[in-house]
């Protein structure tokens, strides 16, 4: 593509072409992803494999030297304890990596977004469509995770199902953060910094061991991280011990998703339209 077409002709098609509404635009972008991923179903399918390996390895292998753990007074096997924790972490990982590495590639390398914005598509439709695709992919992986928890008898079927929406919320909230990070990233190596934050957050998130293991000062740091809220919420639902106080977790994730969603939209529109 010629550089001159990279910036969007703001007035060129208004009048001649009907600008689609936000929802229609999102749907088009979603459809585009669906078509372009059709040949990559094997890659998508193998994405189920990784969290499953973690669950089997850590759940049963680690479980053999740890035994049972108690969560909010209920004693559960180690596999039942980490299952929902890994489900929440993989929901985070899925959308976070989709909205960083994949977004960055389309934004800077293939410049696909420049091309898409030459059409009547709006920036809201683009960001919304890409984000909903990322969340939908994560939703499929989470659904497999729910089935695995039920199949391995690590959670009551209804409880496991009730944890599924929590992973969608998690995926959406982290996807918004990822899109914002992408808008600030200058080079691939900038994402190394993200990984250096994500990895200790994952290990400390209480996915692997309860919060009470930490000394008090560290507990408040862990509490402040978003993944802790995602893990605790998902686990409370999956183990059937959720209560009204878990709305704090929901609120944390909703606010994070909204704030970063707005920020991502604003940053990307500045990057792509100006």
């Amino acid at each position: 593509m010629l550089p001159s077409t990279a910036s969007r002709p703001a007035t060129a098609h208004t009048g001649q072409t009907k600008v689609p509404g936000l929802f229609v635009g999102m749907l088009r972008v979603f459809e585009h992803n669906l078509i372009s991923y059709r040949r990559m179903w094997l890659t998508l399918a193998s994405g189920v494999f990784e969290p499953l390996m973690y669950l089997l390895g850590m759940g049963y292998g680690m479980g053999s030297i740890i035994g049972d753990l108690s969560f909010r007074g209920d004693v559960v096997t180690y596999a039942a304890f980490i299952g929902p924790g890994l489900m929440a972490s993989s929901a985070m990982n899925g959308t976070l990596f989709d909205t960083t590495y994949n977004f960055f590639f389309k934004l800077r390398e293939s410049r696909q977004y420049d091309g898409m914005l030459v059409t009547p598509l709006t920036i809201g439709g683009l960001v919304g469509g890409e984000l909903s695709w990322a969340v939908a992919r994560g939703a499929i992986y989470s659904a497999f995770f729910v089935l695995t928890l039920i199949g391995l008898d690590l959670a009551e079927p209804l409880h496991a199902l009730s944890a599924w929406p929590a992973t969608l919320l998690t995926g959406w909230a982290f996807g918004a953060v990822g899109a914002t990070l992408t808008s600030y990233a200058r080079a691939w190596t900038d994402f190394d910094i993200m990984e250096l934050i994500v990895q200790p957050m994952f290990l400390a998130s209480t996915a692997f061991f309860p919060l009470t293991v930490f000394p008090e000062w560290a507990q408040s740091i862990v509490w402040a991280t978003p993944l802790f809220h995602a893990v605790d919420l998902t686990r409370a639902l999956a183990l059937g011990t959720a209560g009204w106080s878990d709305l704090v977790h929901v609120a944390y994730l909703v606010v994070m998703g909204l704030v970063f969603g707005v920020l991502a939209r604003r940053r990307l529109s500045r990057l792509l339209l100006e």
């Binding site: 390996m53 973690y54 390895g57 049963y60 292998g61 190394d192 290990l203 930490f214």
Partner: protein
């Protein structure tokens, strides 16, 4: 082409020349290996070794399942070896394919008097050398954290470097035979992730089904974990010798696989 006459000769001078080139040219040469070889395993050591470790030690309380005094001593040397596994996978797929297919650096290198065999060996060695340097630092971290019980531990970075070398030779041999990168994510998921989890770094293989345990025992990851742990603990015996023999034999086979792969790829390129 002159290189066809000397395609399989390997001389110290040729290797040194390519390594020097790689040394000068690698961008951010310390950052990525420090992250993979020191910072990332240090996160695991701090959060799983201490956090999860406090639970394990409480439950195991004097049991001999781990074979070490505590969980920190168990997981510490294991992390050294499996970060070699992850590093070898990370460096042998996309970055290796890049040298041949995208940057085409080695296509140019092959037109100079160095042989393709030298390119292959130096490429694999460069992956292992960088990791060994980081492993020296992480072994010091282990010593400071109290996860090391013997002076034999000074050889642990070499054991971890050997793990990276053996694995990198096999994966590079695979990579240069691929038409495109489509198979790489699958290899990570079916190779790197299981080897990371089931090499006995986090838990003893007695905790998994016997078949999984035996499958794990043929991988470089398991031999690396065991050897690093034996060195860190000072429990060096005939088992340790078996690991060394494994590395020599599988490493030699892997290197032949890598060299023939490079020769094939560079003669076509």
């Amino acid at each position: 082409m002159s290189s066809s006459l000397t395609a399989s000769s390997i001389t110290a001078g040729g290797l040194a020349r390519i390594l020097e080139h790689l040394y000068v040219r690698t961008p951010a040469k310390y950052r990525s290996v420090l992250v993979s070889g020191v910072v990332s395993p240090a996160f695991f050591l701090g959060l799983l070794g201490l956090g999860l470790g406090s639970l394990v030690d409480e439950r195991q309380n004097g049991a001999t399942t781990l074979g070490t005094d505590g969980y920190l001593e168990f997981i510490g040397p294991g992390l050294l070896a499996i970060s070699a596994v992850l590093w070898a996978f990370g460096q042998s797929l996309w970055p290796t394919a890049g040298e041949i297919n995208w940057d085409r650096t080695y296509v140019l290198t092959a037109a100079t008097p160095v042989s393709t065999a030298e390119i292959a060996v130096a490429h694999v060695a460069w992956i292992a050398i960088r990791f060994t340097a980081a492993a020296v630092l992480f072994t010091m971290v282990l010593a400071v954290a109290g996860a090391v019980a013997s002076w034999w531990a000074v050889f642990a970075p070499l054991a971890a470097g050997a793990t990276a070398l053996v694995l990198a030779s096999i994966i590079c041999g695979f990579t240069v035979r691929q038409e495109n990168e489509d198979t790489f994510p699958m290899l990570l998921r079916l190779g790197a992730i299981p080897m990371f989890l089931f090499s006995g770094a986090f838990f003893p293989l007695s905790g998994v089904p016997a078949a999984v345990g035996w499958l794990a025992r043929v991988t470089p990851g398991w031999h690396g974990v065991e050897l690093c742990r034996e060195l860190a603990q000072g429990s060096v015996d005939s088992h340790s010798f078996v690991h060394v023999v494994y590395f020599v034999v599988v490493g030699a086979l892997g290197m032949v696989y890598a060299v023939t792969g490079f020769q094939q790829a560079l003669s076509e390129a």
